[in-house]
């Protein structure tokens, strides 16, 4: 099956889903630190249920974009329209060391049955029996799974992942990829994954963007023909790793 769809209808067909609705629409975004412009005239639309990976060299502005989408930094021009507050998973787990796991997961959750909801979210990431345990008893991978549960318990329409697996060992990272794939398939938020790992982007994303000099310089839809050698080489060339790009 090939994807000849307009940019407005990129989410894969689902029997239950009707018309796709955007998780976020960014238009003409401009972000500058003082006089140094980091992002200029950037446009991006992510549908609910769509998994977008954002690649780029260090300092290209990809984390700046994510922080702007999260509402953590002010923007200097353009518009970001998101229906609800996005959830964020950072590179560090950022668990509160003084709260047990269910209190960490339910942080910011305004609900009388916060504990049950946190428990359900922890069960989804395979830690359903650790509700009253403390963050310092967790391994790096487990802590990042709790951070994932904390993001998903908010039922976000947009999930922002800022290199969440970068600090994990290779085997744990592969397991996390599988977990994220399953969770995103069941919760169907729009996802923006910022990463520097080309293989991670190919393994997870429906759409891969390469950012360069504050713009989106390259776009590749990977859902249909995952991990073809050409796509990988293309991406590496776009990232400036290979001297000359292979003919696409």
């Amino acid at each position: 099956m090939t994807f000849h769809v307009s940019p407005l209808h990129v989410s894969p067909p689902l029997s239950s889903s009707t018309i796709p609705s955007p998780a976020v629409v960014v238009s003409h975004l401009r972000r500058a630190y003082g006089s140094r412009v980091v992002i200029e005239n950037l446009n991006l639309r992510i549908e609910r249920g769509e998994f977008v990976a954002l690649l780029g060299e260090s300092g290209c502005g990809k984390t700046t974009l994510l922080r702007a989408l999260a509402g953590l930094d002010p923007i200097q021009g353009g518009r970001i329209v998101a229906p609800r507050r996005p959830a964020v998973v950072f590179q560090e787990h950022r668990l509160l060391p003084w709260g047990n796991l269910w209190r960490n997961v339910s942080l910011g959750l305004q609900h009388p049955d916060a504990r049950e909801r946190a428990g359900a979210a922890l069960a989804e990431v395979g830690l359903g029996d650790r509700l009253d345990d403390w963050p310092r008893n967790l391994s790096g991978g487990q802590a990042q799974r709790v951070a994932l549960a904390r993001a998903l318990v908010q039922q976000p329409e947009l999930l922002l992942l800022d290199e969440p697996f970068a600090a994990l060992d290779a085997l744990t990272r592969i397991r996390m990829h599988e977990l994220v794939r399953v969770l995103v398939a069941s919760h169907r938020p729009g996802v923006l994954l910022v990463t520097h790992d080309v293989d991670e982007a190919i393994a997870l994303a429906d759409r891969i963007l390469v950012m360069r000099d504050g713009r989106i310089a390259f776009e590749h839809r990977t859902k249909a023909d995952a991990s073809t050698p050409i796509a990988r080489a293309d991406l590496l060339a776009e990232l400036g790793v290979l001297a000359s790009p292979l003919p696409a």
Partner: protein
């Protein structure tokens, strides 16, 4: 025969205990003495000192006017509790310390919160507080007596003065040291400003605040000793000054011992607070 049986029974009985000890000392390899042995060893020197003191006093090497025997001090304590009002004086001293601590602690904590959260408050009051802090608070005693006279107010004021600054400094420090990444996370999770303070900033500042409380307990005690030494009509300090008039060295030594014991007790309470409230903290928590 019965001897052998007893030994065998002892070995069996000892086994679980031994297993316990090996697991306890497995944290630090190479230890042969064990935890209880080390505890006993740490008490050896102080106990020996008291025994030597007692022996020297009994042998007549120490004049009772210079340093009475420990047994004599204990007798004096019993006599003062039963016939005199030692417990009443102790209660009055503790009450003064508690009142001063409550007042000084509240003032220091409130100012610390203000300055910790607000750059404007810091600019407005931090320099003044640091200037007052530079004065050794005991040096202000003559002035305090001129203001308040020699009474309860003067004593409580001096304690409060000594307590305010350690609490203030450690509260502001604790708030400043909270990981900004956790504060950012709180914003991402949609916490209100009040929730952010209650769930992230104050818990994060708690280790530092408790350190301040521990310092403050020590200064509170010091302030009380000084205040009670001058013109008290009751309390442990009054007892000591009264005994000085009559050259009752045994009573003087007793009051010193009481001050020391209360200092130790206050520190133990502070440590218990740390263990309870900071159970999550790798440097304090006892239980996993």
């Amino acid at each position: 025969m019965s001897n052998i049986e007893q030994t065998a029974a002892n070995v069996e009985f000892d086994q679980p205990q031994r297993a316990d000890e090996s697991s306890a000392s497995s944290d630090k390899p190479g230890l042969t003495i064990g935890r209880h042995g080390l505890l006993a060893l740490s008490w050896l020197a102080p106990v020996a000192l008291v025994i030597i003191w007692e022996l020297l006093a009994r042998a007549g090497w120490l004049s009772p006017q210079v340093l009475p025997a420990p047994s004599k001090v204990i007798q004096t304590a019993i006599r003062l509790v039963t016939t005199d009002n030692l417990l009443g004086d102790l209660g009055i001293s503790l009450l003064r310390a508690a009142a001063g601590f409550a007042i000084g602690g509240s003032v220091g904590f409130t100012l610390g919160i203000l300055v910790g959260f607000s750059r404007i408050a810091e600019a407005a009051i931090d320099r003044s507080i640091q200037m007052i802090r530079a004065i050794p608070f005991i040096a202000s005693l003559p002035l305090v007596i001129v203001w308040l006279g020699v009474g309860e107010a003067e004593k409580i004021f001096l304690v409060a003065l000594g307590v305010t600054f350690p609490i203030y400094i450690n509260t502001t420090l604790g708030i400043r040291q909270v990981d900004p990444k956790l504060v950012e996370l709180g914003r991402v999770q949609g916490l209100s400003s009040l929730q952010l303070i209650l769930r992230i900033v104050l818990p994060g500042a708690l280790p530092s605040i408790l350190t301040g409380i521990r310092y403050a307990l020590a200064t509170a005690w010091l302030a009380l000793v000084v205040a009670e030494t001058i013109g008290a009509q009751s309390g442990i300090g009054f007892l000591a000054m009264d005994a000085r008039e009559f050259l009752r060295t045994d009573v003087i030594v007793l009051t010193i011992v009481i001050y020391a014991l209360i200092g130790v007790a206050a520190d133990a309470i502070a440590r218990l607070l740390e263990r309870r409230l900071l159970a999550w903290h790798p440097n304090y928590g006892a239980a996993r």
